[in-house]
């Protein structure tokens, strides 16, 4: 396996080919925040909170650390004014959905994000996709999926699959950075398979 030398925040880092910038940074104790990243899942690059400045042999740009692979002599900066301001505004936009999310509030403190700056949004979901991807990639059940696109994109349980698969699993629940997933599940349960719903509530 060929060794790749790169520099992250001024630190010399040795990495292996195919490694992401995120993994290379973490290997030397540099923390890059993530929301849609999960070690067991394919890199997704959607929340963009992990963006970093990259200079790959003169090709300069902003890349998502969770999907961008390391390259020989790459120079990466994870905390510049530009990066911090992107993270701040992204967090503010997420907080417009989920103002009480602990994960988000913790990051908001670090990046000086104001949770009330953007108009509040009706859904708590920040569409990180952890639930959808976990169910698809790890559990291979496809009980939950994305619906629609653009500003009306949302996650939904497929009632037929959820009625069979979810009751004894619920492994996606702790992955959710907000409280939306549980809410979506219980709504589906109450509307689509109320018999199991009443059963489960009466037992508890």
């Amino acid at each position: 396996m060929s060794e790749i030398h790169l520099q992250i925040d001024g630190k010399d880092v040795e990495a292996e080919e195919g490694m992401t910038i995120l993994d290379a940074a973490r290997s030397v104790g540099i923390n890059i925040p993530t929301l849609c990243h999960h070690a067991e899942l394919e890199p997704y690059g959607a929340c963009r909170i992990c963006v970093v400045e990259v200079d790959a042999g003169g090709r300069k740009g902003i890349g998502a650390a969770c999907v961008r692979s390391v390259e020989q002599n790459m120079v990466v900066n994870t905390r510049t004014e530009q990066i911090d301001s992107i993270r701040k505004i992204l967090l503010e936009q997420f907080l417009a959905h989920a103002p009480d999310s602990e994960v988000l509030l913790r990051l908001a403190k670090e990046y000086g994000a104001d949770k009330d700056r953007f108009e509040k949004q009706s859904s708590f979901c920040i569409l990180c996709g952890l639930c959808v991807r976990y169910c698809t990639e790890v559990k291979k059940k496809n009980a939950i999926g994305f619906f629609d696109r653009g500003s009306t994109r949302e996650i939904k349980f497929f009632p037929e699959i959820a009625a069979k698969e979810c009751k004894d699993c619920k492994e996606c629940f702790p992955l959710c950075p907000t409280s939306y997933l549980q809410a979506a599940y219980h709504v589906t349960e109450a509307l689509a398979f109320p018999s199991t719903f009443s059963e489960s509530t009466s037992k508890e």
Binding site: R48, R149, G150, S151
Partner: protein, 641 residues
């Protein structure tokens, strides 16, 4: 037709086709592209055929040809009569009898169907002398009127497939890539990446299986150049694609055509079938040993699938969502294999490079943008349609010389280039040279070639809102800066257009726009803020007027305008009160009319119908509406004669 097995057989066959055709025999070419069809070209063709029979003529004496779009859509249905090249505009089925008896039989030109030059009121008969065409350089679209897109023989008659022969017989794949590099052709899909370099990346891939793909998911509102090429000359695209397959070592090609282009799908599907029958697609093409297969795939109606990684995902049967690059498709594309994907217009240029040499492209244009570019010129411009021009022409020449300027004596305000992710360019920059870099410098983009002209009645806040609204539904929603950024920008701009703008909104918009631009996953998000940023850059005063004075100077934002009848000028003619669809005008004979503001929907009908001699209805914005005249004072006392 038996299969053609060698270049010699192809040339033999071509000679045979041409020898059977008499260049002096009259031929009536009718555009049956989507635009002209919508205007009734189908009925025109039927009427012409009927008349030919009725007047005792037949195909021995006169040919009819149903062709693709030559571009002058504003004046369709378009008919061109050969060999004289007489161009008739806005032809109706009723004109058929006269066209046959006068022009075909008696060789007389019908004056009333000709183009009239507005500068001197003289008619122009020859197609190429009409200013709209004369100032263009029609390398790609020029063949459209000369061939029936459903006939491979027509394409062969104009020299079709000689470029493929040259590639397969005289050039190695590496040489073909080099020729494309030498032409300096840049991709016509939007980003303008040098096509030859892109080909080189895919050609360098060691894998056995590779793909070439035509991106025909043309989705910019108002843009239809790729549709015209695919509908009008599908063989040109297929020939380019086949050459590309040979050059990069791909034995399979895909055409990804948007769902909304049924005629393009029909024509290109038929073209593939014909090319297969003739042995120009399939196994061992022209005896060269090169095998190539082409499949048409219909998109399902998502704008974002024009983005190459989303397109490839969709082609694989997955949701059409972009993926991070690198890896680029040239390395890991369709089904994980090296893939070269280009837009329709780029592929159409390839046969020209092979046939005429790379200098045919590289000798035209500016330093870094070569060749011709097709634009779809639409909006508030006299000659809407498709125009093909050399790179480096000025925007002013396109809009005024070719486009004929802004109709109705209105003032030009801006031109929007590059589709929903493009930018609005004001009058002061109309003399810039149109190329990839110059357009980017003024905050717009070349994009795929959409060009929307706007006049003084256009509100730039409304324009911004329109494009953001489009993008909010067309962003795939995967990455947050694009999804959330567009949502919030749209909501702020909507608020401004409703008169609820606040101090600081402009700066807030700029801040969101910049983060969306910098942090988004794909080019859709990366360029989505352009309409906002470019309108703020050039029309900041309009934003300020909307926010501070609640004034829309173009009288577009309904919440900021009002209509009012000047009691001094109203002659109580009842026209406006009868026409008002909201029943919002109080008025009777000899009673000065008054608009009931609570009922008014601000449709502007009263303003339009008030006789110009009176001019009693006025538009107000940013100022209070005068109190209605008291009822007891409304009676008009008739003047004695």
């Amino acid at each position: 037709m038996p299969r053609i097995n060698s270049p010699a057989e192809l040339e033999e066959f071509r000679k045979d086709i041409i020898s059977k055709r008499d260049p002096n025999k009259p031929c009536i070419a009718v555009c049956t592209g989507t635009g002209c069809l919508a205007l009734g070209a189908g009925k025109v063709v039927a009427a012409l055929k009927e008349e030919i029979e009725k007047q005792g003529l037949n195909t021995e004496v006169v040919d009819t040809r149903e062709t693709g779009c030559p571009g002058f859509c504003e004046r369709g249905p378009i008919v061109v009569i050969y060999p004289e090249e007489i161009c008739y505009l806005q032809v109706q089925p009723d004109d058929a009898a006269e066209i046959i008896s006068q022009t075909i039989v008696s060789k007389k030109v019908i004056e009333r169907l000709l183009y009239v030059d507005p500068s001197n009121d003289e008619t122009i008969a020859r197609e190429s002398e009409i200013p709209f065409y004369k100032n263009q350089m029609r390398h790609l679209i020029g063949n459209n009127i000369k061939i029936d897109p459903k006939s491979i023989e027509d394409y062969l008659a104009v020299g079709g497939y000689s470029a493929l022969v040259k590639a397969l017989i005289e050039e190695t794949p590496e040489q073909v890539v080099q020729l494309v590099k030498d032409s300096n052709l840049r991709g016509r899909g939007g980003a303008g990446f040098p096509a030859g370099i892109k080909w080189g990346f895919a050609a360098a891939g060691k894998e056995k299986k590779k793909y070439v793909v035509v991106n025909a998911d043309e989705g910019d509102p108002g843009a239809f150049m790729d549709r015209a090429l695919l509908e009008g000359n599908p063989f040109g695209v297929l020939e380019g694609l086949t050459i590309g397959g040979y050059a990069i070592g791909a034995s399979e090609g895909y055409l990804y055509v948007r769902q909304e282009y049924p005629l393009a799908v029909e024509n290109v599907t038929l073209a593939i079938k014909q090319a297969e029958e003739y042995g120009l697609i399939g196994k061992n093409i022209l005896g060269s040993g090169f095998d190539f297969k082409v499949t048409v795939h219909r998109g399902a109606g998502a704008f974002v699938c024009g983005e190459e990684t989303a397109l490839l995902a969709s082609l694989e049967g997955k949701p059409g969502e972009p993926k991070a690059r690198p890896p680029f498709p040239a390395v890991k594309g369709l089904f994980g294999k090296p893939t070269n994907i280009n837009n329709v217009e780029t592929w159409s240029n390839i046969p020209l490079i092979l046939k005429n040499g790379p200098e045919y492209i590289s000798s035209i244009g500016t330093e870094n943008s070569k060749g011709t570019k097709i634009f779809s010129l639409v909006g508030k411009v006299t000659n809407t349609g498709l125009v093909e021009v050399p790179m480096g022409i000025s925007l002013r020449d396109i809009i005024f010389k070719i486009g004929g300027g802004v109709p109705g004596g209105k003032k030009f305000k801006a031109v929007q280039t590059g589709g929903p992710s493009g930018g609005c360019i004001p009058e002061e920059h109309l003399d810039i040279k149109v190329d990839f870099d110059e357009l980017a410098k003024v905050g717009a983009i070349m994009g795929s070639g959409g060009m929307i002209v706007m006049d003084e009645d256009t509100c730039m806040i409304d324009v911004s809102k329109y494009f953001l609204n489009f993008l909010s539904g067309e962003s795939c929603g995967k990455c947050s800066p694009c999804r959330e950024g567009i949502t919030h920008m749209l909501s702020i701009i909507t608020r401004i257009s409703e008169g609820k703008g606040r101090e600081g909104d402009i700066e807030f918009l700029e801040e969101i726009a910049i983060s969306t631009k910098n942090a988004s996953l794909c080019a859709l998000g990366g360029s989505a803020p352009n309409p906002v940023l470019s309108t703020i850059r050039y029309f900041r005063d309009e934003y300020e007027a909307h926010i501070r004075d609640k004034r829309c100077s173009a009288f577009v934002c309904k919440d900021l305008i009002a209509y009012h009848i000047d009691p001094e000028k109203c002659k109580a003619c009842m026209i406006c009160s009868r026409k008002c669809p909201a029943d919002a005008i109080d008025g009777a004979k000899k009673q000065i009319h008054v608009i009931v503001q609570e009922k008014c929907t601000k449709c502007g009908t009263c303003y339009e119908v008030c006789p110009s001699g009176f001019g009693a209805v006025t538009r107000l914005s940013g100022e209070p509406v005068p109190a209605p005249i008291p009822e007891e004072e409304r009676t008009i006392v008739g003047k004695s004669k």
